[in-house]
């Protein structure tokens, strides 16, 4: 089995999850000698009252919020990031807090790069850019949190910057902030978590360290995903899903992205669908391809997805198959999951563009595999 000469594992953030997690931010920032954070978030979050909750949570502390910028749009361009970096400098802030997901977190990472290194974000495009230590960076996720946001990757203007230094230093998952709004967004979010955890778990480069995190993420997701989609405002399931995202982020960052993730991101970019939906539409196809190519699933997939009892009861050589069946069952039981790319109305020529895009971004993926996944999903 897996006999690589060496493998690394790194997960920088301190996770604080649960009741009154945000109240601990001042203490943690103080540990970094920071008392003057710059807070960014999006209009939706501030208008739904979550930003106010955050401000209230910081009452009775010594932390002065330098500015609460709540106008980050769904696409944060380089222009905005530069302006915000200048804003941060002008206010003399010493740390960054991002409330939200997606573009807010990416923008915060971009701002952090500019203010900490003094150079422009775009200079660091590509893998493992040497950034050096950045300013303390806190993420307060909301319901649509995907593992991707919590890793050391930043997607700015379609360019990816990956570095161990880009991790958030603190992730404060607060029960007040992570309640979902509707099944649709919850489904899309959960599917991203599922895909990223699954691909980290099934990756040929998996190792003991990433396995531990990926299988735990899968366990939590398998237990909660259906309920989370059905009842997106349930505090407990939301907390569980946010935790799953956090855990799978640890595995995801330390593995190469798999085909479904890459294709899903590319398709989402080209068609405007949420990434989760694209991934959900591709996932069954990718699994089928795997079994078609006779690449056996790992036996402990069943343990992660089906639970300990089912795993133990099954015969040893049967576990991989049962694991696959359990997984397929789980995916199909998610209410409203897109049935193939046709339900998303993705035409073939767009899908082909997505293949090219994904193959260019992740040269390690085999183009033939991507093509097969797409044609099966269509």
């Amino acid at each position: 089995m897996r006999s690589q000469s060496e493998y690394g594992f790194f997960y920088q953030p301190k996770i604080m999850s649960g009741v009154a997690a945000m109240e601990n931010i001042p203490v943690e920032l103080d540990g970094f000698n920071a008392r003057h954070p710059f807070v960014i978030t999006s209009k939706e979050i501030s208008s739904s009252g979550l930003a106010k909750k955050f401000v209230k949570a910081l009452y009775d502390s010594n932390t002065i919020i330098g500015a609460l910028y709540d106008d980050v749009p769904a696409y944060a361009g380089i222009g905005l990031i530069r302006e915000l970096a200048q804003f941060l400098r002008d206010r003399g802030c010493d740390s960054i807090i991002a409330i939200g997901t997606g573009s807010v977190v990416d923008a915060a990472k971009g701002i952090n790069i500019i203010v900490s290194t003094g150079k422009d974000v775009l200079e660091f495009e590509g893998n493992n850019a040497v950034l050096g230590h950045l300013k303390p960076f806190v993420v307060v996720p909301t319901a649509t949190i995907a593992p991707y946001d919590l890793t050391g990757c930043a997607a700015i203007e379609g360019k990816e910057i990956i570095s161990d230094y880009l991790f958030p230093d603190i992730i404060a998952i607060d029960t007040r902030m992570i309640r979902g709004c509707c099944s649709d967004s919850m489904r899309a979010t959960a599917l991203v978590s599922l895909t990223q955890a699954l691909e980290a778990f099934l990756s040929p480069q998996s190792n003991h360290l990433t396995d531990a995190y990926a299988s735990m993420a899968l366990r939590i997701i398998a237990e909660h995903i259906v309920k989370a989609v059905k009842r997106p405002r349930n505090k407990k399931t939301c907390l569980a899903m946010a935790n799953a995202a956090t855990v799978s982020a640890a595995a995801f960052h330390n593995q190469l992205p798999g085909p479904v993730h890459s294709l899903g991101m590319a398709l989402s970019k080209l068609t405007g669908h949420l990434p989760g939906l694209c991934m959900g539409a591709l996932l069954p196809a990718a699994l089928k391809l795997r079994s078609k190519k006779k690449e056996p699933f790992r036996s402990d997939l069943l343990l992660a997805v089906g639970g300990a009892d089912r795993y133990a009861e099954s015969a040893e050589n049967d576990r991989a198959n049962k694991g696959e069946a359990a997984l397929m069952n789980l995916i199909s039981s998610i209410p409203g999951i897109p049935q193939g790319l046709s339900s998303l109305k993705v035409p073939r020529h767009t899908a082909e563009e997505a293949i090219a895009l994904a193959a260019k971004k992740e040269p390690a993926l085999k183009k033939q595999d991507l093509e097969e996944i797409i044609s099966m999903a269509l």
Partner: protein, 180 residues
Amino acid sequence: MINYNNYPEIKPGKKLLKRIYVATMLFVFGRAFQAVSRVDRSAKEEFAQMPDDFVLDFCVVPNGPHMIVGKDGKGRITYLGWNPAGKKITLAMRIKNIEAAMRMFMFLESSCVATSRDRLIVDGDLPTACNVLHIMDLLEVLLLPKFAAKLGVKRYPKWSQLSPLRKWTSRLLTYVRLIA
């Protein structure tokens, strides 16, 4: 262009009621520390294990309230008030924020759950901190009725550990000393 004026600096507000509540509770606990050290046998044992220069600052960061308890020159435990200024603190037990303190003192989180949730920062000699926590547990048992104390401690003492006679005498004496 960002209009800076739309995004002003936000100074943290105050949670006055919560502070008053926590301060009151800390005052009661401080007085009770002093009281119980003179009446209860097992509390005396615990205090005896503490070093002579023991001064505890039990507080909420960053702005208080505080509760300071220490040994005076004669080795007796006394409540030293709410102001840490000028006192040589040997053991600081800090609650990370007022919200956590509220949860603790409203018995939403028992002291052991609070500890396991990392709500407390202990700075100083750990064994002494253990003694303090033991006494806190004892105080909860003595000061509160059984149903409330059960929420606060992991295991409500059995007869074999704490006979009703001892419990009630200690409880009575502690209350008397607390008020007097």
